[in-house]
């Protein structure tokens, strides 16, 4: 936002919604606009840095609680951590009826990690990008307008898609482990239209396969796009509110308070749906 530069509202919003990119062009490292032609092998370094940083924060906090965990009277910190753990454990126990050592830690990781990433949304939208622009200008001699910084990783579809794909892989893995490869194929082809008449059943297989495949693939899509959409829209409104000057203060407060609900809810929903999908994948009764 250098002085004198023409800055329209749409370019301001565009700037806020663009990730910092890194790629290799002709064997050397390139950033941002230079990467526009590279295609798939572009890395969103802000998304990666913030998400991995927050993930490490989660692991560090919970690991330090785990190391000091006592079966006696817990301290305040341990109590807080145990509340989160028990919330997750209760939901897993209520929803997932198999025995799996993976589901509960997976749910905990998703819940806390997604929550922390969503929480970045409550930091006023201009603070960190402006700070990054300042640092870029002063330390690296860049035009501050060329420094991009998107601090909410869950507004990057790459991250939500990665989470959803991770869950999707587990869904298929659990399906095959519990029901076997044939069981999984049968589930995809013999439902929802099933009959004892063999030739008719063969005719119905394509329809079944189509429906079941859509139902299966819709799950990760809905997971990824729900989280992404909610947070992206919330972020967008924060940016719009931030662009209207001093009048933003009450509006921003109201939207931020509402957003507290959204960020917890979205993290919880992602966790619950993960548990539900894996529970469906591991249950035999179709």
């Amino acid at each position: 936002m250098a002085a004198g530069e023409e800055l329209t509202l749409s370019s301001h919003i565009q700037h806020h919604l663009t990730n910092a990119k890194m790629c290799t062009v002709d064997g050397s490292v390139a950033f941002n606009k230079a990467c526009s032609e590279v295609g798939f092998w572009t890395w969103h370094i802000d998304t990666l840095a913030w998400s991995i940083g927050l993930g490490l924060l989660f692991l560090w906090v919970f690991r330090s609680a785990a190391k000091k965990a006592t079966t006696g009277v817990p301290g305040k910190f341990q109590c807080f951590i145990e509340m989160v753990v028990e919330l997750v454990a209760t939901n897993v126990k209520d929803t997932y009826h198999g025995s799996s050592k993976l589901i509960a830690p997976l749910a905990l990781t998703i819940f806390v990690w997604v929550f922390l990433m969503n929480l970045m949304d409550l930091i006023p939208v201009d603070f960190l990008p402006a700070f990054a622009g300042f640092v870029g200008e002063q330390a690296l001699g860049m035009d501050s307008h060329d420094v991009y910084m998107k601090i909410v990783p869950t507004t990057d579809v790459n991250l939500t898609a990665a989470l959803a794909i991770g869950v999707f892989i587990l869904m298929i893995g659990y399906s095959i482990r519990i029901k076997g490869v044939m069981g999984f194929i049968k589930e995809l082809t013999l439902h929802p239209f099933s009959t004892k008449n063999v030739p008719l059943q063969i005719v119905l297989i394509p329809a079944n396969l189509l429906l079941e495949t859509i139902a299966l693939v819709a799950k990760p899509f809905s997971l990824a796009l729900r989280l992404f959409g909610n947070l992206y829209a919330g972020e967008m409104i924060f940016i719009l509110i931030g662009a209207i000057g001093l009048a933003q203060l009450p509006l921003h407060f109201v939207w931020a308070v509402f957003h507290i609900l959204v960020i917890v809810l979205q993290a919880f929903v992602f966790m619950m749906l993960t548990i539900v999908y894996l529970s469906m994948a591991s249950s035999d009764n179709h």
């Binding site: 295609g39 969103h44 993930g55 079966t71 817990p74 145990e82 830690p105 990781t109 990665a162 991770g166």
Partner: protein, 156 residues
């Protein structure tokens, strides 16, 4: 918002986080929670048991107290009865003793009276003989009239 290599990076990060959580975070926390839950459950059960034991002990103590009281009352009763009996016996004995002593006294008195009466009679006989001797002046032969004298003594 196009998909790019970031997705792969995040996928790897996600997998690593979940594995780390599964190995080093979740088990110690959930174990601590479950162990504490068990501890608390055990403690509650123990306190329940202790309460029951206490109630039982109180009941027992009450019973024992009641028994002891009844026993004490019994003992006191018996003691009173025995006291009365002993008193009675003592009175009886004392009465009997008194009767006894009185009887002995009476018998002794009787014997003394009889002895005195015999002596008196002998002395009166002797006096009567002496008086008669004086009156008759030797006219009576003591040997010849001893039968009369004897008769006289008898009559006295």
């Amino acid at each position: 918002m196009t998909l790019n290599a970031t997705l792969l990076g995040e996928l790897i990060a996600f997998a690593v986080f979940v594995l780390f959580c599964m190995k080093f975070v979740w088990p110690p926390l959930i174990n601590a929670i479950e162990a504490r839950q068990k501890k608390i459950a055990d403690g509650l059960a123990a306190s329940d048991r202790a309460e029951k034991d206490l109630a039982l002990a109180q009941d027992k103590a009450k019973d024992q107290l009641k028994d002891a009281k009844a026993q004490a009352a019994d003992i006191i009763d018996q003691a009173k009865k025995r006291e009365a009996k002993m008193l009675d016996e003592a009175v009886h004995k004392a009465n009997a003793e008194r009767e006894n002593i009185l009887a002995i006294g009476r018998a002794e008195l009787e014997a003394e009276r009889n002895r005195l009466r015999e002596e008196l009679r002998k002395q009166v006989a002797a006096l009567a003989v002496a008086g008669a001797e004086k009156i008759l002046q030797r006219s009576i032969d003591e040997a010849a009239h001893s039968d009369i004298l004897e008769k006289l003594v008898q009559e006295l």
